[in-house]
Symmetry: C3
Subunit: 406 residues, 3 copies
Amino acid sequence: MKIETLAAGCRPGWTLPGPFFSDETVYQHDLERIWRRGWLFAGHTCEIPRAGDYFLFEMDRDSVIVIRDDEGHVRAFHNVCRHRGSLLCTEPAGRATRLVCPYHQWTYRPNGDLIACRGMQEDLDKSLFSLHPVAVEEVAGLIYLSFAEQPGSFAGAREVFEPLARPQGFDRARVAKVADYLVKANWKLVWENNRECYHCNVNHPQYIKANFDHYNSDDTSPRLRELMATATARLETKWAEVGVATHKETGMTLFPDAERNIWFSANRTSLVEGYVSETMDGKQVAPLMGDYRDADVGTLRMRSLPNFWNHASCDHAVSTRLLPAGPRQTAIRVWWLVDENALEGRDYDLAGLMPFWQLTSEQDWEICERQQRGVESSAYQPGPYSTYKEYNVDSFVRWYLKIVTG
Amino acid sequence: MKIETLAAGCRPGWTLPGPFFSDETVYQHDLERIWRRGWLFAGHTCEIPRAGDYFLFEMDRDSVIVIRDDEGHVRAFHNVCRHRGSLLCTEPAGRATRLVCPYHQWTYRPNGDLIACRGMQEDLDKSLFSLHPVAVEEVAGLIYLSFAEQPGSFAGAREVFEPLARPQGFDRARVAKVADYLVKANWKLVWENNRECYHCNVNHPQYIKANFDHYNSDDTSPRLRELMATATARLETKWAEVGVATHKETGMTLFPDAERNIWFSANRTSLVEGYVSETMDGKQVAPLMGDYRDADVGTLRMRSLPNFWNHASCDHAVSTRLLPAGPRQTAIRVWWLVDENALEGRDYDLAGLMPFWQLTSEQDWEICERQQRGVESSAYQPGPYSTYKEYNVDSFVRWYLKIVTG
Amino acid sequence: MKIETLAAGCRPGWTLPGPFFSDETVYQHDLERIWRRGWLFAGHTCEIPRAGDYFLFEMDRDSVIVIRDDEGHVRAFHNVCRHRGSLLCTEPAGRATRLVCPYHQWTYRPNGDLIACRGMQEDLDKSLFSLHPVAVEEVAGLIYLSFAEQPGSFAGAREVFEPLARPQGFDRARVAKVADYLVKANWKLVWENNRECYHCNVNHPQYIKANFDHYNSDDTSPRLRELMATATARLETKWAEVGVATHKETGMTLFPDAERNIWFSANRTSLVEGYVSETMDGKQVAPLMGDYRDADVGTLRMRSLPNFWNHASCDHAVSTRLLPAGPRQTAIRVWWLVDENALEGRDYDLAGLMPFWQLTSEQDWEICERQQRGVESSAYQPGPYSTYKEYNVDSFVRWYLKIVTG
């Protein structure tokens, strides 16, 4: 069925029909319109500090080398030799001052230039055989790629992320841990799960102790309103000098904005009294990151469609990256970041650092897998969103439909 | 290729052409015309004795909750929340006085009614969001489902099964063991194997010691005819008072009947002298079941298309359920049932109870897998059925073609 | 996309476009035009020395019994019973004086004749139910099959292989070892890898010590030319009496010949001074094979499209057979053969016999898998072949395109 026909059958304020979550044609359409056109979070600049450091970014049938060139810039190239198409790099990450094809040793600089191809005819014009580039943007230590030949503007995202993310020091961070998941759910279900906290009460016992946003206008008591006002006021006073806006209401900040095509957003919000970090007991578990001189910074939240969110506390940050792996599967990577000078064993340990977001993430993956199985049922029909609690899911669906039918 | 074209190329009395056993289009057609329209055996009432007891029935992309409601009736519902489509139950069986969605806690009664959906707008009309029902019929302790919106009549099956199955006491049974198999063969090959005993002599050394039906008109000796007549006469005398008809000839009872669309059948027949139960040595291995007061009851056989057969002796019964799992695979469950008061270790043990039908079943699965591989060959052509020994396979094929082209 | 359209877009002297290596339609076309029409190497006559000895040959969805009949001829039949299509043989190799179907015991002679079908109607004409034959050719101990109803002529291959292969004694050999590989690469990439030694320097440290053919016209030094001339002259003198032509130049012998449709080729060439066998140190590791009375026989090389090559030294021979296993996979079997009288432990051991070609083969499989991943990339574009070093790859591509568009 054509996506336009499917989209025309969608009822505003209700969930998407089943084919959106399992149909191969819809999936290919999602790849083309969203994943191959948008800006995708790839990783952190701190993962490739030196010239020649690289990591691979793999999506669908593509492998991309994200590498720091001799001039210190982050570059990205398709991991495909221009001779006979072999992969150049096979390790997921490493260092290479020259990219040498393992097949016939065609050799490229980290800027993509072909500089040697022993055995070829003498008149071969090397300048025609540079590696195929992939567009790159870097903001506050985060690396974004786009497969589009003419990518959309990144300026809006830069403007929002730069001031809020800069103090966190992503560019001066260390990766403490990476966890990879293959979640048996369509990528859109993972986002729908991310866009509401209606499910938090029962499913996320850790998360709800630290945060206010699982309360919505229908269940925010006067006492709760007071607690949040106090926490927010304290945070705003401290941060007034750097002019950082905070999210002051219960409920999640509004995102995305389908009408204005806002695919990125960031905000700082207060944690519950007694929590200075998103950890099991709310205590700090690692040295302060970046520019922070005080643990009381609330929590920084960033997200960008279609594949990134980050939750950052004073002492650590957790990045989540989604990649589509078929209509029914999403490959998810979660990074735990600490300050670059923090040493495991001395300054932090994984047992303290990881549980909060490991548990919360894995709780969500399980939810998404149960929903995937249900929406594939012959009996599944769209259901209504709660206007109190699922407004952002509705926004996500409207954003999605606008992009894929646009 | 269209099923009508394929069916038109079938030669009466010969096996089906290859595409019927591996083609995706044929498989989808089988699902639609047979598996989503007919009555499917799901399980036994004794598996869910109390209100709230349930088990899941999973076919194709559907999961169904089979549950006993507060009034004691067996009900069946699609295991899909009406809110965002999550599975409600994830355990294969359990007990739930309320069905609570693990995602946002929408809550249903065991009769399917939505009774709570905290967080939704106040004007949501709960009566519009009951669970989607699946048709259920219950006969003598056997539970049947139909995915059809307007299922065909179950009356004929009830009439045949009720009097013959009632004395076996399926409703007062205990599941001693369940074995699950994923057999790499199209479901029709499993039925074709079931519908003849031409293969029994060499493949089923256990089965042929206990039974007469692997003999056919071409190889029934006068001595054998006499043995069977004696066994049958004894059985009929004992059972005359309850008016139970027996199958008196060698060879399998005729089933199915394509012309009259008879998809169910049951009969009682005598075992070989010295056998009172289908066990390795013919001896009783568990207490008498149901209404039986005498071990000499022969064997009760029931079968219904497209997915059930049962072989019952005085002391135990063995149910077999088929479910399609792709064009080349069939998911098969086998249950061993004993009287509800029988205790393992005291009254029976699995080592005595299981081998006869475990061996016979697994011998058949292996046969079917070999045939599947052969009928997928580019060289496979339909071959002729034996009129002496494969009349019921021919009947099955005619029944099948009539349904799928009807 | 149609193969003709794809083929029309190919640029001479450049690699094939991506769909040739992953598209299902292209794969089916390859099966039909190449694998089901050509002559396929199946195995060696020495694997089935006695009447009734057989092995199975499995390609795509077909299983073929290759069996020696009562008259001593090698025959091949589809492994499919003419009754209901069951596989007859399930073991990969064995001995059977009669082929008895395990389902209902229909029984065939090793020449394919149906001789018993107990239980069928009396008027069944057995002569109409012989096993479906597959065409067979035998040359110098090598067995070839063709699925074609009217296979092309085998005469040219026989003429080339017979005189060169006869002295090796394949018909008097023993299989010392068989290794099976499932390589994640399209079969054409495996051939392209086989058709050049441009990749040898870095990838095959063992191979290049023994051989001259990784040198090409662009890198053959005067000193190297002299070494090769000496080695060749010595070999030709010794072999003058039997009139065996040798390949006298560096670089690989030209093969295949797209214009004349030459799909087979064989030649003898000299090894580097100090090597009498393709082993790790160049020393003989097993008794002389066949008619050889002197270890100094250089190396015999044979290859036939689409699925065979062999490298033979004085003391052992290594056969490689490809079979397609999907657009992205090739099933590869490698045989190590020694003289039939050689005894493991006494006359040879696997630790000495296997490494040279095991290492070289596995190095190539890894190369092919890396290339497969690259040519599936959205960024992959055809690249240019080296006219110095990849002339045979170009020949292979031209042969392939001629066949599939022919």
